[in-house]
Amino acid sequence: MSKRTHVTTTINNKSVDFLCEPRQSLLEVLRDVLFLTGTKDGCNDGNCGACSVIMDGVLVDSCCILGVEAEDSEIETIEGLAQNGELHPLQKAFLEQTGMQCGICTPGFLMAAKALLDKNPQPDEQQIRHWLAGNLCRCTGYDKLIRSVMIASESMAEA
């Protein structure tokens, strides 16, 4: 068996180090090694976006990245979205606008939406749909979810 690798990385602005086998994905490391279970496993092959995180400013599927590749990276997960107990406007909007039902896809969508608003603070409906096409939701039919993102971006613009 290959030796476990010692990896040093930054997660939600905190320096973190861990041991992992090369065959453990970043998703597995987040969930099973670091117990950051907010990032979800929906398909484990890049087709549903439930495992979305932001790595070095880029939105990615953590199931398609190895834990060892996280060396010297900056990773943002759902656990870091709320700051000091204050919900991010996206989280508030999802709550107030019923942008979720069962909640399993919600962390992935929130990270994806955050990455969008970081890049384009005032997207229109089509731009939001295009950006979020890599995230699957089976409960909401997307309507209130998209509206949540639109309302969040409006409230961030007003702030």
């Binding site: 290959s2 890049g46 590749e69």
Partner: protein
């Protein structure tokens, strides 16, 4: 997943040495969006994964008068977020913005897309249409391979076990030229192409006749197909409906699709004709736009 070793050399020479010693049991890792999935599905089981993202030659992205050099590990996102490149190589933007959703595009590389060599790959017809050339090195030397010769069978490239794709070179497009890539999928994103097609056209000064054209189609043969005859038939022909229909028909005849869970033979043949015609139309519009 099976057990394997992982390394991330920052020198091309070191990677080449490892490839030579491992004789086919090593795999190169760039974006990982194909390879990691294959490994999980047990269809690829390398003993060693060589992460090439730290090797400078493979991360190069360079646009100059001669053309565009894309390092093999450069991501789709890096291509389409670069305004200069996006402006000059629209079909490349078509391709890279269609692959698998934003998350995939953030990691997936054009080099990886080429080396996975799926018949349905979304960048390969575009590379062919743009006359791209693959720069490949090994311990023993280097060679240039036109992209249309790169894939030899579904999932198989022309590369030897000890070779590494370093970059792709796309020559600067001629003035009054344009290209477009189109893909047909059943949903509006996230699907593998049922059929895809890329067209590149070069128009004369008046924009009324074709000087040259290159058409490539995908998912309808064991590899992406460069339909040389279709482009050849357009040389010196007028830019009109008939030329387009004719080229589209030639492309259709060149296709040898199969029935599978993504499409039927009849539908794919029809789509080749439709997409080729529409891609040509779009390429012409872009070429004419370049005239202004």
């Amino acid at each position: 997943m099976h057990d394997f070793e992982y390394c991330a050399p920052d020198k091309l020479q070191e990677a080449l040495g490892l490839m030579a010693t491992h004789k086919g049991s090593a795999q190169l890792l760039a974006g990982g969006t194909d390879l990691i999935v294959f490994m999980r599905a047990r269809s690829k089981r390398p003993d060693l994964l060589i992460d090439v993202k730290k090797i400078p030659e493979l991360s190069e992205l360079q646009l100059d008068k001669a053309g565009l050099t894309i390092g093999a590990s450069v991501s789709c996102r890096a291509i389409y977020e670069n305004d200069q490149i996006a402006g000059k190589y629209s079909a490349l933007v078509d391709s890279t913005t269609l692959i698998g959703g934003i998350q995939i595009q953030g990691r997936a590389s054009i080099g990886g897309n080429l080396c996975t060599a799926a018949p349905s790959a979304d960048t390969i017809p575009t590379l062919i249409a743009y006359s791209a050339v693959a720069n490949v090195v090994s311990d023993k030397g280097e060679r240039q391979i036109p992209v249309e010769e790169f894939c030899v069978a579904p999932g198989q490239t022309i590369l030897n076990d000890d070779e590494i794709l370093v970059n792709l070179f796309i020559p600067a497009p001629a003035p009054r030229s344009g290209a477009m890539f189109l893909r047909f999928i059943p949903r509006n994103e996230m699907d593998i192409a049922v059929v895809n097609a890329a067209a590149f056209v070069e128009l004369d000064e008046a924009g009324q006749n074709f000087i040259s054209a290159r058409i490539a189609i995908g998912a309808v043969a064991p590899t992406p197909l460069f339909v040389e005859e279709a482009g050849a038939a357009m040389i010196d022909k007028p830019v009109n409906e008939e030329s387009l229909l004719n080229a589209a028909r030639i492309a259709r005849d060149a296709a040898s699709p199969i029935n599978d869970m993504r499409g039927t033979v009849e539908h794919r043949k029809q789509l080749v004709e439709v997409l080729t015609r529409r891609a040509l139309y779009g390429a012409i519009e872009r070429a004419r736009g370049a005239l202004e």
